[in-house]
Every structure is written in structure tokens, then in C-alpha cells.
């Protein structure tokens, strides 16, 4: 039985409270269930990061309805304590790994969140060890963050959230500044959290290959939702994505290109493996027939 976790209805948001003529979000309506793995795709300036920042109360919408983890963020009597309670449920990992680590030692940084929550010392110790083990950083517990690689720093940041035991994690372009190895480390970490612990994962990205791995893709363009569906549905329509200044994954575009040249291929691949399969099958049929 799925349970509604994020409910947004006709959300409008602007960075300039006095000037609402240039809203960044122009009527976002969507529902996300607990435990979903959702990728939010969008071009630079599309409003995808703005939407993410609404979800844990960093920014406020000026119109519309927004309920996250049972907290009504548009209610007039929303208190600081409500936002505080929400932030322990909804954790956020940012783009620059350097600008979100607070302490000079890895395990102290992981402890920062639970310390803020007032968790007892022995419990913090247990949570920190567990969190570091989950992201595979146990051996670096006593290291200084500035000696770690980008991917390792992001994993420490994720461990810092795990230690707060949230039910949802938002990755705001957390892989954008990483090399391919670091990117894979981070993606595998949050996919594991989604699979094994049922944590709702929202990843905000402009990498198609990353979005293709999610269960559901939401495309935001110019502050509005352009498309919402499974990766297969979304990438089946390259023209629509092109209008949002986005591309389909390279493998999808290869198959579409071949088809346009008259090659008979069936299926809509979204991963390189599927693509290779389809082409192999087509080649085999050609040699047989």
C-alpha cells in the first residue's frame, strides 16, 4: 500500500518576494509516494533546484498547496518547530561537497546532525558507526575531509543524513561536480538506501543516464512540469525533451538515429546494455535472414 509523501498542488514560487512578475515555479502539481525513486530532470534555470528547496522549507512558495511528510508547508500557522521536524525527515545533499561538511574529522561531521537533534551520546556513536558502514566509509572515520575525493566527501555527507534517520533524501545535483567514479559511488549509495531501507530518493540532475536509472522521471521546464512518467515513457519522445533543451540518453538517441536511417530495430533502450542487446538481435536477424 503506497502512502503519499509529497503533495504539491499548483505551486508558485519566486526569489523576489516584492516582485512576483518573474516566478521561478509556475504551477507545479505532483504527488510522490513514500519509498519512490524519482529523478527530476531539467535544464539550467528550469526551476528544478528551486522545487527541491521548497520541500524542506528553505524557500517558501507564495501560492499553492504543499504538504511534505505530513507537514503542511503552506499553512499560515507553520512554526519553526514544524520546519525543524520536517528537516529531520527530509535530508538534502548539495552540489559542492566542500561546502556542506562542517567538522574537521569525518565521524564528527557525521555526528553533527544527530548532535543538533539532541540524541544521547552513546546513541550518536552507534548511529555514526552504522551510517559510515552503510556508505562504506568506516575506514575513513578518523580522516580529515579535505583529504578525501569528491565522491567520498559526498558519501560522508550522505552518512551525515543517514545518522539523522530521515525518510527521504534529496540530491540537489550532488553528482555534478564529481568524476565518473565518484558519480557511480554516490548513485550506488542512494540506490542501495532506496532499495534496502525504503528511503524516498529524489535526485535532481541533468544527466540523462542518471535519470534513466530511476523508477520515475519528472521533467521540469520553465517552472512547469513538462512530462512525468517512467524513464521508458519519457525517453520515447525525444522531440519533447529537445524543447526543454534536454537530450535523451546517448543509447536511445543512437537507436532513434539508426531507425531514421531505415534500420529496423524494435524496443526503446534506456541503458547501454539494452541498446547493445537490441542491435545484436537486429544484426543476428539480418545474418540469419
Amino acid at each position: 500500500m503506497s502512502e503519499l509523501f509529497i503533495h504539491a498542488k499548483d505551486l508558485w514560487c519566486s526569489y523576489d518576494e516584492d516582485d512576483l512578475r518573474v516566478p521561478v515555479l509556475r504551477g507545479i502539481t505532483l504527488d510522490i509516494d513514500r519509498g519512490e525513486y524519482v529523478a527530476i530532470l531539467g535544464h539550467n534555470g528550469s526551476g528544478k533546484s528551486t522545487f527541491a528547496k521548497l520541500l524542506n522549507g528553505i524557500l517558501e512558495p507564495y501560492a499553492g498547496e504543499l504538504t511534505v511528510a505530513g507537514v503542511d508547508l503552506t499553512s499560515p500557522d507553520l512554526s519553526d518547530d514544524d520546519i525543524y521536524a520536517l528537516r529531520r525527515e527530509v535530508g538534502m545533499v548539495f552540489q559542492n561537497p566542500d561546502n556542506q561538511l562542517v567538522a574537521t574529522i569525518v565521524e564528527e561531521d557525521v555526528a553533527f546532525g544527530p548532535e543538533n537533534l539532541g540524541v544521547p551520546s552513546e546513541e550518536i556513536r552507534r548511529r555514526v558507526d552504522e551510517a559510515l558502514a552503510t556508505v562504506g566509509m568506516s575506514e575513513y572515520a578518523r580522516h580529515e575531509p579535505h583529504r578525501l575525493s569528491g565522491g567520498q566527501k559526498q558519501r560522508v555527507a550522505i552518512a551525515g543524513l543517514i545518522a539523522m534517520q530521515p525518510s527521504c533524501m534529496i540530491f540537489d545535483e550532488s553528482t555534478a561536480m564529481l568524476d565518473p567514479v565518484g558519480r557511480r559511488e554516490v548513485i550506488e549509495t542512494f540506490e542501495k538506501l532506496n532499495r534496502e531501507q525504503g528511503i524516498t530518493v529524489l535526485t535532481i540532475t541533468h544527466y540523462m543516464n542518471e535519470a534513466a536509472r530511476a523508477d520515475r522521471v519528472i521533467v521540469i521546464d520553465d517552472g512547469k512540469i513538462l512530462a512525468d512518467g517512467t524513464p521508458r515513457e519519457i525517453f520515447a519522445d525525444p522531440d519533447k525533451l529537445k524543447r526543454a533543451a534536454l537530450d535523451v540518453p546517448q543509447c536511445t538517441s543512437l537507436v532513434h538515429g539508426l531507425r531514421a536511417e531505415g534500420v529496423v530495430l524494435d524496443g526503446e533502450p534506456i541503458t547501454p546494455e539494452e541498446c547493445a542487446d537490441i542491435i545484436c538481435r537486429a544484426l543476428k536477424e539480418k545474418t540469419n535472414g
Partner: protein
């Protein structure tokens, strides 16, 4: 650039390293008091011996220790000279034109030099060499926490220190990146007079400042997202405990102070 170490901390496993940082702050203060209690040759000999003993116990190489003294050699020579020529006494040893050196002057010069060296050694062995900057910050937060009663933002101060320490390597790395970027554009940092060189720092400082503000903003958001709202209701993962060895060290230090006071009575020669 990734290997810059914070402060002068020298990692080793010595009895002094293992002491609680709060106790080390107290011990350092008491040790400073001891150096000012010294009044005669015996006392100064005792305190000089004690600091040699401290170096041996802390297992810090002599070369590292003397690096702490190097910057103050000039001050030492200056103080020694002043004391040597301007201390008037009874036993005149040497006189030429208007310069007179008395026995007391020599004593006083030697005392001052010993006192300065012991002050520097004592504080660096107890604080900077054997205590990590972060442990020192935590110790100060804990020792100053009673001042919260008079609304002194002790936690906020410690937090600022921690973040500053955390960002020193990051900003150092960034500085070298900016310098390389500007060098690639033809900026020369090594030529010209003082003013020209200072001017060539502007294209480094401005981007560094801009990026620091951006970092500060992002870090503040990240901290808010992790439920930070000041020191209120905060717990700590590692709560430091005072051990028997900490109290033993305190007793030793007090006994040492008492010994100095005793020695003051049985001294001979010049007394300050």
C-alpha cells in the same frame, strides 16, 4: 597542498598527548604562574629543568621544539641587553664610558631569557604541540561554558573556530588554484617592488573573497538543513572524561608550584 597540517600539532603517543585537553589548558596556565613565581637561581634552574623534562616526556623532537623559539630570538636578545645594561646593583664588573655591567645585570638578563623560553616551551608543549586545534577549541568551549550565564556566545564562538579550522585547507587549495589561473593569464607575482607585488595580489584576493562568501552561504544552508539552530539542546558524540592521570598531572603541577615557592626562601645570590 593537500598535506598542509593544521597548527603545529605533533602526533605522538605520550603521557602529555593523552591528557584531557581541558586539563592541559589549566596546566599551561599554572605553569605560566610558576614561571612568574621564580625569584632566584635555584628556582630558575628548577623550572628550566622541568621544561627539559616536559620535552622528554612529550616525545617531541628537539628540532621541532626549537622551531617554536626561533621567532622570538630577537625579543630575547633585546630583553637580555636591556636587562644587562640597565640593572643597577652593588657588584660592578665592568665599566666603560657610560656603560656599566653589574653582576645583578647578568643575573637579571639570564633570568629573563630563561623565563621567556620556559613560557614559550610550556605553552607550546601543553597546548599547540600535543593538542589538536579541534580538541583545544572544544576544551575552551567547555571551560568557558559558565560564561554563558552572562550571555557570552561561547558555543557560537567555538563553532566559528571549528568552521574556520575546517576551511583553512579548502581555501588554501582554492588560493593556489586561483594563483595558477591568474598565472596562466600572465599575472606575475614575483617581480617588481613591494607595491607592485601587493597590487598583483588583488586578482587573487577578490575571487577568493567572492567564493568564500558563496561557500559561507551554501554552508549555512547545509547546516540549517541538518537541523542546526545554535547550541541550545545540542548533545555531543564524544563527552570527554577526566581520568586519574589528569588529576595526577594537576597534583604534580601544584606540588611543583609549591616547590618553587619553597625554593624562593633558600635561594642565594641575586633575587628578583
Amino acid at each position: 597542498m593537500k598535506n598542509i597540517s593544521l597548527g603545529q600539532y605533533y602526533p605522538a603517543r605520550s603521557p602529555i598527548h593523552q591528557l584531557d585537553a581541558r586539563m592541559k589548558v589549566i596546566l599551561a596556565i599554572l605553569y605560566i604562574v610558576c614561571t612568574f613565581l621564580c625569584k632566584n637561581v635555584l628556582c630558575f634552574a628548577a623550572i628550566a629543568l622541568s621544561s627539559i623534562l616536559l620535552i622528554l616526556i612529550s616525545r617531541i623532537p628537539l628540532r621541532t621544539v626549537f622551531r617554536a623559539i626561533r621567532p622570538i630570538i630577537f625579543i630575547m636578545i633585546f630583553t637580555a641587553t636591556i636587562n644587562l645594561f640597565f640593572t643597577k646593583g652593588e657588584t660592578l664588573l665592568f665599566s666603560w664610558w657610560k656603560l656599566q655591567i653589574y653582576m645583578e645585570g647578568i643575573y637579571s638578563a639570564v633570568f629573563m631569557v630563561v623565563r621567556i623560553i620556559v613560557l614559550i616551551l610550556g605553552t607550546s608543549i601543553f597546548l599547540t604541540y600535543t593538542t589538536t586545534p579541534i580538541a583545544l577549541t572544544d576544551a575552551l568551549e567547555s571551560l568557558l561554558s559558565p560564561l554563558r550565564v552572562i550571555r557570552l556566545p561561547v558555543h557560537e564562538f567555538a563553532m566559528m573556530m571549528t568552521i574556520a579550522l575546517r576551511f583553512i585547507p579548502t581555501l588554501t587549495e582554492e588560493t593556489s588554484k586561483i594563483m595558477n589561473a591568474q598565472k596562466a593569464r600572465g599575472v606575475d607575482f614575483s617581480e617588481g617592488g613591494l607595491i607592485r607585488r601587493a597590487k598583483s595580489l588583488i586578482p587573487i584576493l577578490i575571487p577568493l573573497f567572492v567564493s568564500s562568501f558563496r561557500r559561507a552561504d551554501e554552508l549555512a544552508t547545509a547546516m540549517e538543513c541538518r537541523c542546526y539552530r545554535g547550541g541550545k539542546g545540542r548533545t555531543k558524540m564524544t563527552v570527554p572524561h577526566l581520568h586519574v592521570r589528569d588529576f595526577a598531572a594537576l597534583v604534580l603541577m601544584i606540588a611543583f608550584g609549591a616547590g618553587i615557592v619553597m625554593l624562593n626562601r633558600y635561594g642565594f645570590g641575586y633575587t628578583v
